[in-house]
Symmetry: C2
Subunit: 254 residues, 2 copies
């Protein structure tokens, strides 16, 4: 059984303000918890549903946690009821420290995906997962984006949140300018009106900016963009989903 | 104000069994309703929140509906409370007849996207929207897929459900065989192990099969596949989201 203070702590981590206050977030499920333990993130505790503690995959995670001296706690059925954030609690979760990241943490020898006003958690998570697939490790989040440690975002990254350098900037415009001036990046964006993606020059260092589905790349950010591209379509749809568009661009530049 | 029978009817359409029984579904929002009215689908009624009836875009839809003799009904604030399926009812909805479609309705001179066990509504809707963007009008749904007229699917197509030939088959294996034998299609699938997508031959008539995120293309269907492709990755993610993968493939074949 978990102590009441632990239960309250976990419940609070479902709210953004407490994640910020505590500097912690949580990840659920075998895959997510395993990836957290294997990563450079600091895992504060692993919480296991007592009912599944004997399962082989869970046992393996418990051993890994113990090896690196991460506390493992067991939750009763009643605890599980209290803490689950999804309808089907996947039996295991971890509380993880939010790393402090700045522009200096980006690998400035490779591409960067910059996101301006991506508010849908599923889209943000999927973009991070896709970047990880294509080996693009740098993500730059502008101020209008959904919070990275929102549980829906974390879930839809499918563990990739632990592989990526995700850096938050309060001033995306200034960050783009810095990346161009100091690190030699070309700033490109995806727009409904632009050159066909097929005409994009091969470069080693693009910052590729994607704007919100409803408003596109914001005006201030537009000023920093060196090249605008579009994914040519020939059907009747007005636009592509932003995660799909980002996936197509990442395949092209990777 | 809406009659109680109408309110009950709409409430029922939020359930799959009644959509099937009545042969009707609903679409919400200005874009969805406009696309429905402009399409070959039969719109049974348009329902407008009385509070927004004077808005210009709503007025335009009302005129369109009246021109083609579609009934327009007005909902009171209380009605809206009763019928809304999302937290923010977008002020307008339409009840639409489910068209009867069979394999014969596919345009067998162009590509077909076949889906095997796509259970996530957002993924199905996004795949349909993306197909529409790339001008691929044929979608074939196998028995394990989420229902096309689920409101989350309809919403995430962003109106593209009204542009596409979406055909449901009870026997995907047999349908694939028929498409190969009778219409000269090559059946291809996306797998984690396959030839790199870049090596895919240019052909005018692919049926491209995408399997479920958790189990991939099912064994029975595999038997019908002539060519297997993969999207090469170099990061640490285990897989791509299926809608992203489908988007990348559709861009390649279109």
């Amino acid at each position: 059984m978990l102590e009441t203070s632990v239960l309250k702590h976990i419940a609070k981590l479902q709210q953004k303000k407490y994640r910020k206050e505590f500097g912690e977030f949580f990840v659920e499920g075998i895959k997510g918890v395993s990836e957290a333990l294997d990563s450079e993130f600091e895992v504060i505790a692993v919480i296991v549903d007592s009912n599944v503690r004997e399962e082989e995959k869970i046992q393996k995670i418990i051993r890994t946690a113990e090896e690196i001296e991460v506390e493992v706690m067991f939750a009763s059925a009643k605890d599980v009821e209290a803490i689950k954030s999804t309808e089907t609690f996947p039996g295991i979760m971890a509380i993880v420290e939010i790393p402090e990241m700045s522009l200096d943490d980006l690998d400035t020898e490779s591409h960067i995906i910059a996101l301006d006003g991506i508010t849908d958690p599923g889209n943000l998570g999927t973009i991070i997962r896709t970047a990880d697939w294509f080996g693009i490790t740098n993500i730059l989040l502008g101020p209008g984006c959904v919070e990275l440690y929102n549980e829906k975002v974390v879930r839809s990254t499918m563990g990739s949140v632990f592989h990526e350098n995700v850096v938050f900037t309060h001033d995306l415009e200034k960050s783009l300018e810095e990346l161009r001036e100091e690190s030699g990046y070309t700033i490109a964006s995806l727009e409904l009106q632009g050159d066909p993606l097929g005409k994009m020059e091969k470069k080693k260092k693009y910052v590729f900016v994607f704007g919100s589905e409803s408003h596109g790349v914001s005006e201030d950010i537009q000023k920093q963009v060196d090249a605008r591209y579009t994914i040519p379509g020939k059907g009747q749809a007005e636009s592509l989903n932003v995660a799909i568009a980002a996936g197509i661009v990442m395949k092209e530049i990777s």
